[in-house]
């Protein structure tokens, strides 16, 4: 293992004299040979005029754009400006400075980290491949006996528990070397990573069958395990690049890598955030103003102020701004088995709505409808709410099949007198009637009484109207959205601002 090879920009970009413009364009590697060949990669057909650091930064920006980070020209200019202010020899500073100018949200920041690592890793590797820098031969490691392997296992587990980065990297290399010797490599990096991890017996869950002193007994910390896997992946990629002397094609980041580490709780937070936006949108749409023009209170103070323009004569009357009324919302949520996978999401949407809107009534339904407004109002804890709904909320469930026709009639009976043009009705459901009468006419009555009606369907649009899905019948009277992730929920909220929808009603 040679210590002179490191990841990150310093090995690619390190410059010894920060004065003079030529240092920006030339990079001298203190560890490498004196004359450094260009980084340009013939495979990717780069413009030969674009050399040196500016080109690399532009490429990094280009790559970030490909991953969906909004990097504008002004951001790139800022990036160059900040690089003038900081020293490039500290990877930490270099990375933070670029991040501060290029990634403008927490999600973007996460993508930035991944892209930054990948980008400079690749740049380093290709430079090394071009210059013919190779790792020392790994033959120094003799064949591993089972006992030595066991020793390696415990060492890795111990390093994972302390979380020391350097030790982990060395051990990752040893592990790869050991398993390469055992001819277990499949050639596919993702598969190899999992094989090695499994062979090392690293698991996040406690393994009580192991002896007490084994660090793996309590389970390896999950994030340490993830870091170790990332290191394994990186070392395997490094070896592969070295073998072939060329870079594998860059793959876009998967949805999984990109997403923030999230559990149901983080999702809940995300839903809450989107629903807060929803409230703002609904409140500022102005649809509550219709028919309420008769209240106009003169704002004496502002009228006086305006009268100064006309020499103290109140020519222009100023009115108190009309505060938008709180929107009233009715939510109907399907909790039948056909939407089981989406119901947690739906319930969290309901929960968030209840947190944000005060004038709101919610209903859950399967075959019949039952009002759950009280539960949401009295229980603030999401878990308790979902337990109570699935338990004793009294969702009348006889057959377990949704009966939309019945649901509409019951809903109409319950809220007929309260529905008015300021109300918004939101239905969360898959519109699968199990062959029963959809009663779109009753639904039409509801939609006609309410100001606006929306349908959020957890199924992909592709499946709509296949089988017993009758969303088309309802879509005539409402606006339907495909919605089973927070991103789509956000789309829904965004769509709300389009005036077309308000005008269509």
């Amino acid at each position: 293992m040679s210590p002179d090879r490191q990841d990150g920009p310093e090995s690619v970009l390190s410059h010894s004299n920060p004065d003079g413009p030529e240092s920006v364009l030339s990079h001298s590697n203190p560890d490498g040979p004196e004359s450094v060949p260009s980084l340009s990669d013939p495979d990717t057909a780069r413009d030969p005029a674009l050399e040196g650091l500016p080109a690399r930064i532009l490429e990094l920006g280009e790559e970030l754009r490909r991953e969906g980070v909004a990097v504008g020209t002004s951001e790139m200019l800022d990036a160059f400006e900040v690089l003038r202010e900081i020293s490039w020899t500290s990877q930490q500073d270099f990375r933070e400075a670029l991040a501060a100018t290029l990634a403008k949200s927490q999600e973007d920041r996460r993508v930035f980290e991944l892209v930054f690592d990948r980008f400079f890793f690749r740049a380093t590797e290709i430079a090394a491949a071009h210059q013919g820098i190779r790792e020392e031969d790994r033959a120094a490691l003799g064949d591993l006996t089972e006992a030595e392997l066991e020793e390696l296992r415990t060492q890795i587990a111990a390093a994972l528990s302390d979380g020391s980065e350097g030790a982990m990297r060395d051990l990752a290399r040893m592990a790869i070397a050991a398993f390469a010797r055992r001819q277990e490599g499949s050639g596919v990096i993702g598969v190899d990573v999992q094989r090695i991890r499994r062979a090392l017996g690293l698991r996040a869950e406690p393994q009580p069958e192991l002896p007490a002193e084994d660090p793996r007994r309590e389970g390896v910390p999950r994030d340490a395990l993830r870091r170790f896997e990332a290191l394994l992946r990186r070392e395997l990629e490094r070896a592969q690049i070295e073998r072939t002397g060329s870079l594998p094609p860059a793959r876009p980041l998967g949805e999984l890598d990109r997403a923030l580490p999230s559990g149901p709780l983080a999702d809940l937070a995300a839903v809450h955030r989107v629903v807060t936006q929803l409230r703002r949108r609904l409140a500022t749409q102005g649809m509550q103003n219709r028919g309420h023009r008769r209240h106009a209170h003169v704002d004496v103070r502002r009228t006086m102020r305006a009268s100064l323009q006309t020499g103290g004569v109140p020519v222009v009357l100023k009115y108190r701004p009309r505060r938008p009324k709180r929107p009233e919302i009715y939510v109907l949520c399907d909790v039948s088995t056909s939407v089981t996978s989406a119901s947690v999401f739906f319930l969290s949407v309901l929960h968030a709505l209840h947190d944000t809107f005060r004038k709101m009534r919610s209903f859950v339904f399967i075959e019949r409808i039952s009002e759950v407004t009280d539960i949401f109002e009295h229980e603030r804890n999401f878990k308790a709410v979902s337990e109570r709904i699935s338990g004793d909320a009294g969702v009348a469930d006889i057959s377990g099949y949704t009966d939309y026709g019945r649901v509409w009639s019951e809903f109409l009976v319950q809220v007929e007198d309260d529905l008015h043009p300021r109300a918004t009705v939101i239905v969360l459901g898959d519109a699968r009637t199990n062959g029963r009468d959809p009663r779109a006419d009753v639904f039409a009555q509801i939609a006609a009484r309410a100001g606006r009606t929306f349908w959020l369907n957890p199924e992909p649009r592709l499946y709509w109207n296949y089988g017993d899905s009758v969303i088309a019948a309802y879509e005539e009277f409402c606006t339907a959205f495909e919605c089973w992730t927070t991103a789509q929920l956000e789309d829904f909220v965004r769509a709300l601002t389009r005036p077309v929808i308000a005008a269509a009603r």
Binding site: E81, I86, E96, T101, R380
Partner: protein, 299 residues
């Protein structure tokens, strides 16, 4: 005016040490972004959960740089009259009445739209100030998008147009910090003009240092235990996780009580300092209280 001499930090280490000297322990990225902000004069958008020291950062920067802090607290419905400037119409009215009736309208108009009748609001104050200031626009996410649009002119050109007076341009370059709790997405246009800093809850060691700085009399062991417990509490799903300010409050409370060790009893008694929701208290008492108790029972 005898304002303290303004400082110009020359390196990241400089500003980190400076912030430390005024009682704010910056993380690496915090120091770096603050440095860039002072050098480039770009506004910084600071985001993060509540209580991680976003506002405190602005105060510390002002203290360290010897600048005045101008603060604009945002809220829903904040408008230009409250943020930029307003005509002092009472004074204008008095002026008109005091004028002799034979004064020409022209003269009066000239008169009453002068700087004398202008009420400067925070943004105006920051821009018109003789001395460079630190401008803190707090909780920008609470305002409307229209207000954000209005800010764009101020933030990119550091000038304000007043129809009756003309343009007020900044004489000095203020350091601008915008904080946001991420309760809504800010517009791209605003983000584009800013450097971005994400502040999160600090690492255990970092928080320990902060607590020790603010409650130096607290013994090392208690402080460490405290930070560990805070970490445990934050890991739970709470409505409002304890902030750094609350861990400092807690440390001081423990100090007043003369606590030697945080055991289950002291924890339940003083828990209200860090947990502020009834449901949260149940959760915390349930989980953390139990965790604290079990080793004691075994011993």
């Amino acid at each position: 005016m005898s304002a303290p001499q303004s400082l110009e930090p020359t390196s990241v280490a400089d500003i980190a040490a400076g912030l430390r000297s005024v009682g704010y322990l910056p993380g690496e990225s915090t120091a770096l972004v603050s440095f860039l902000a002072t050098r480039l004069g770009k506004p910084v958008l600071v985001e993060g959960p509540a209580g991680v020291g976003k506002t405190e950062l602005a105060k510390a920067l002002a203290r360290y740089l010897g600048r005045e802090l101008v603060r604009l607290q945002c809220y829903e419905g904040l408008d230009e009259a409250k943020a930029l400037y307003e005509w002092n119409y009472r004074k204008q009215l008095l002026r008109i009445q005091a004028e002799a009736s034979d004064t020409g309208w022209e003269a009066v108009q000239e008169d009453i739209f002068g700087e004398e009748f202008l009420l400067a609001r925070p943004l105006m104050t920051a821009i018109a100030s003789e001395q460079p200031v630190v401008l803190l626009i707090d909780e920008i996410d609470k305002t409307d998008q229209e207000f954000e649009a209005m800010l764009l002119e101020v933030l990119s050109d550091f000038q304000i147009s007043i129809p009756e007076l003309g343009r007020v341009e900044s004489r000095t370059h203020p350091i601008v910090l915008l904080t946001s709790n991420n309760s809504r997405e800010l517009t791209e246009a605003l983000k584009r003009r800013c450097l971005y800093l994400w502040l999160d809850y600090p690492e255990l060691e970092h928080e320990l240092e902060i607590v020790r700085l603010h409650a130096p009399e607290l013994s090392e062991t208690v402080a460490r235990r405290l930070v560990e417990v805070i970490g445990m509490v934050r890991a739970l799903d709470l409505k409002k996780p304890p902030s750094i300010a609350e861990s400092i409050d807690w440390a001081r409370a423990l100090l007043l009580l003369g606590v030697k060790d945080i055991d289950a009893d002291t924890f339940t008694e003083t828990m209200s300092v860090i947990v502020k929701h009834r449901t949260d208290m149940d959760v915390v008492a349930d989980r953390v209280g139990l965790k604290l108790r079990s080793p004691a029972d075994v011993a």
